[in-house]
């Protein structure tokens, strides 16, 4: 499983945040920071509480907010952890964390264990301790009903999609390399599949059954074959073998006395797979990647996407911004109000939300490609900011300029075009440069609509390399390599266009 559900409030400069997190988390094993004396198990018993990390965005049936009582968290993993805690003689308390950060947060000591669809893979086992399994899932392939695809091996040349950082993602990448679309939410991969934006979705059967082949998606079908099987386990810090032993004993007892089956049946998750032989441990990505030429090429390609995206979005934002500024400054009543409404709407709501609405929300009206939606979304958003920059610049032009133009016989449009706007653009150059650099970084948000740009490339590389430091620094270096020459270019342009504008002497 992966991070699911809409991600609406991401930090703006994710690259740097994550790079900083990488510095804090450091190498996997060198900062294990459980309690110093007596181990985590003793600490749990002493405080009478087992804390476990999970992400409610994972949605039904894992761990999610009770629709009848949203402050209350329910899900089959809530029940399993309650039973495990009871058998340890303590209470159970879930701690909310973003899914991709669960493992580093566990290592930091933010909570005792992870229980949230954590798949047992060889790579994970090298980093943290994994309990015995509590659930067997199957990778399920979902396609459109008219598709001829029969298995994951039929997908060459097709657009395949899955959730970020899942075992399914590892399988698809092993088979098809980088041409895999990654999502962060449960619903979106299936919606895009139905719209023809992709050709197949590979995900855990729990997700496919609940979000993919449902009555809401009549055009989709789930293939009846398990593409692979895997198990969900509880993640424990390397330094806590005695806690793992206690949890394994609790899980074995739950299996023996039928409590585990009761919990899974209650969640409609019990199936034949649970009693069959356990699948071999997932091992898909092979070796940890290192920084090599291929990775640098991938980063360069992603940097090009970022630059192209930001450049096109800005080319869209500038003329719309100028039009909005003119409308708001000189338009008749209704025009002025409409411009103001646009600015308040696009400036007052998160650009991430606007991207979601544009790409997923309006998909039934206009089926935009990811890149088109990204350029349009960022362009429309930044137009609101540019509009205010130009309006401010128009206000800063001395009144005498428009009087002189009028006295020479220039009409309103001619005055704007030949006298006011050229001067406003000169005044707006420094804030425009600011906005473009800001846009360059905000463009990382478009990864939510499956565009792989620089920041997304970094998070992918960070997973492959098992560390944030090197990809984070590479990512930061590329952002700087993009923004610095642009700042320099703007500085020269400013010097050329605004020779007479110098800071006032103090």
């Amino acid at each position: 499983m992966g991070v699911r559900g809409g991600a609406v409030a991401r930090p703006r400069a994710r690259c740097l945040v994550l790079a900083a997190a990488g510095l804090a988390a450091g190498g996997a094993s060198c900062r294990d920071r459980g309690p110093d004396h007596g181990g985590t198990l003793a600490a749990i018993r002493a405080r009478g509480e087992l804390t476990w990390g999970a992400d409610v965005q994972g949605g039904e049936p894992y761990v999610y907010e009770d629709p009848a009582q949203p402050s209350h968290v329910i899900g089959f993993e809530v029940d399993i952890m309650a039973a495990v805690a009871r058998r340890l003689g303590v209470r159970s308390r879930m701690v909310q964390y973003s899914w991709p950060t669960l493992v580093p947060s566990l290592e930091r000591g933010d909570f005792d264990v992870i229980a949230n669809g954590l798949e047992a893979t060889t790579e994970r086992r090298a980093r943290i301790l994994l309990s015995e399994p509590y659930f067997v899932y199957a990778e399920t392939l979902t396609v459109r009903t008219d598709s001829t695809v029969r298995s994951v091996f039929d997908l060459a040349g097709q657009r395949v999609a899955t959730l970020n950082q899942t075992y399914a993602y590892d399988i698809l990448r092993m088979l098809y390399g980088e041409a895999v679309k990654v999502y962060d939410g449960n619903e979106e991969p299936y919606r895009d599949l139905e719209l023809g934006r992709s050709d197949a979705v590979l995900l855990d059967n729990i997700i496919a059954d609940r979000y993919g082949c449902t009555p809401q998606h009549p055009a989709l079908k789930c293939l009846p074959y398990d593409a692979a099987r895997g198990v969900y386990v509880i993640g424990i810090r390397k330094a806590d073998p005695e806690l793992k032993a206690a949890i394994d004993a609790a899980l074995a007892a739950m299996r023996a006395d039928g409590e585990l089956e009761r919990i899974l049946r209650a969640a409609r998750l019990w199936d034949a797979r649970q009693t069959e032989a356990l699948p071999a441990e997932g091992h898909a990505t092979g070796q940890t990647r290192t920084l090599d030429g291929e990775m640098v090429v991938q980063f360069l390609e992603a940097a090009w996407v970022t630059l192209e995206l930001s450049g096109l979005a800005f080319l869209l934002a500038v003329p719309i911004g100028v039009a909005l500024a003119v409308a708001r400054s000189y338009g008749a009543g209704p025009v002025r109000q409409a411009a103001r409404l646009y600015i308040e709407l696009f400036r007052g709501t998160p650009v991430l939300l606007q991207l979601f609405v544009l790409y997923y929300g309006l998909a039934s009206l206009v089926n935009l490609g990811p890149m088109q939606a990204a350029v349009l979304g960022l362009g429309l958003n930044y137009a609101a900011y540019e509009a205010e920059v130009y309006r401010g610049a128009l206000l800063a032009i001395p009144r005498g300029q428009s009087e002189a133009a009028r006295a020479l016989g220039l009409g309103p449009a001619q005055t704007l075009r030949h006298v006011l706007l050229p001067q406003a653009l000169r005044l707006a150059l420094p804030p425009m440069t600011n906005d473009f650099v800001s846009l360059l970084k905000d463009s990382s948000l478009v990864s939510v609509i499956t565009v792989i740009e620089l920041t997304k490339r970094m998070t992918i590389a960070a997973v492959d390399m098992r560390g944030w430091l090197v990809p984070g620094m590479l990512c930061a270096a590329m952002y700087l390599a993009l923004s610095f020459p642009l700042s320099e270019l703007a500085r020269r342009l400013e010097r050329r266009l605004a020779r007479d504008q110098r800071p006032l002497a103090l």
Binding site: P398, G400, Q401, E403, A404, A405, R406, A407, L408, G409, L410, G411, Q414, H418, V419, P422, Q423, R426, L497, R499, D500
Partner: protein, 248 residues
């Protein structure tokens, strides 16, 4: 050339112009003088309709102005190609060279060809004594040079009337003479001009008539020999007396 009848203008409750009536014949140069706040600049700005007025009528260079015609585009457009205006603060366009400042209105408003506009601009630059500064930007020019470019810019529309709103007040004394020489040249050439000024020497030497404007009316109107040298009204006497005291 100019006929002003019962011109009234209010700023809120304050009456700025109180029934100004005057005639100006072709080729006359009127020096408009008087105490600050008396309405000199407002009168000038009403004459090319940079400001609306409340009552009265103005006929200038064949165009009739009446209150509330702010939206009358073509008439105002015609007015402004026939009436040139020069401001105290020059108001040159800082993003354009001297030449481009001069050619902008002919190209955009009168659709003159770029080549013809440029040729005319160079002739005007020569006329104001700045033939070598065509490529200079306003910030590279002294105040006196900027004002001469501004005059050339207004002349480029081939106006019948020129209005000058304190053209030398923002200039250092040593630069005023260059500007005054240009205006003098225009007067000799037969241009009809209204010049709001504090330069008594200028009013005395160049003007064909002097208007003393006080509290919204023309308090005194006559040739400089009469108005400046033998003022009749109290306000004119005080005004010229005060100006003459620090005379050089």
């Amino acid at each position: 050339m100019i006929s002003v009848r019962s011109l009234c203008k209010r700023h809120g409750a304050r009456e700025v112009l109180v029934g100004v009536t005057a005639e100006v014949a072709r080729g006359e140069t009127i020096a408009v003088v008087g105490p600050s706040g008396g309405g000199k600049s407002t009168l000038l700005r009403c004459l090319n309709y940079l400001e609306d007025f409340d009552q009265g009528q103005v006929e200038i260079a064949g165009v009739t102005l009446s209150p509330g015609m702010a939206g009358a585009g073509p008439a105002l457009r015609a007015l402004r190609t026939r009436v040139g205006m020069v401001f105290q603060q020059f108001h040159l366009f800082p993003h354009l060279t001297a030449e481009a400042n001069i050619t902008l209105a002919p190209r955009v408003v009168k659709r003159t060809s770029p080549a013809a506009a440029r040729e005319r601009a160079h002739a005007l630059l020569a006329q104001v004594g700045l033939a070598d500064r065509a490529a200079a930007y306003p910030h590279e020019l002294s105040g006196g040079q900027q004002q001469r470019i501004a005059i050339a810019r207004a002349l480029a529309q081939d106006p019948d009337v020129m209005l000058f709103d304190e053209p030398t007040s923002a200039l250092d004394p040593e630069m005023r003479d260059d500007v005054i020489d240009v205006i003098r040249g225009l007067a000799r050439g037969g241009m009809t001009m209204l010049v709001v000024t504090h330069e008594m020497q200028f009013a005395h030497d160049i003007a064909s008539r002097v208007w003393v404007i006080d509290r919204g009316t023309i308090a005194e109107d006559g040739p400089p020999a009469q108005v400046v040298d033998h003022p009749q009204t109290q306000v004119a006497r005080e005004f010229f007396g005060r100006l003459r005291r620090p005379a050089r």
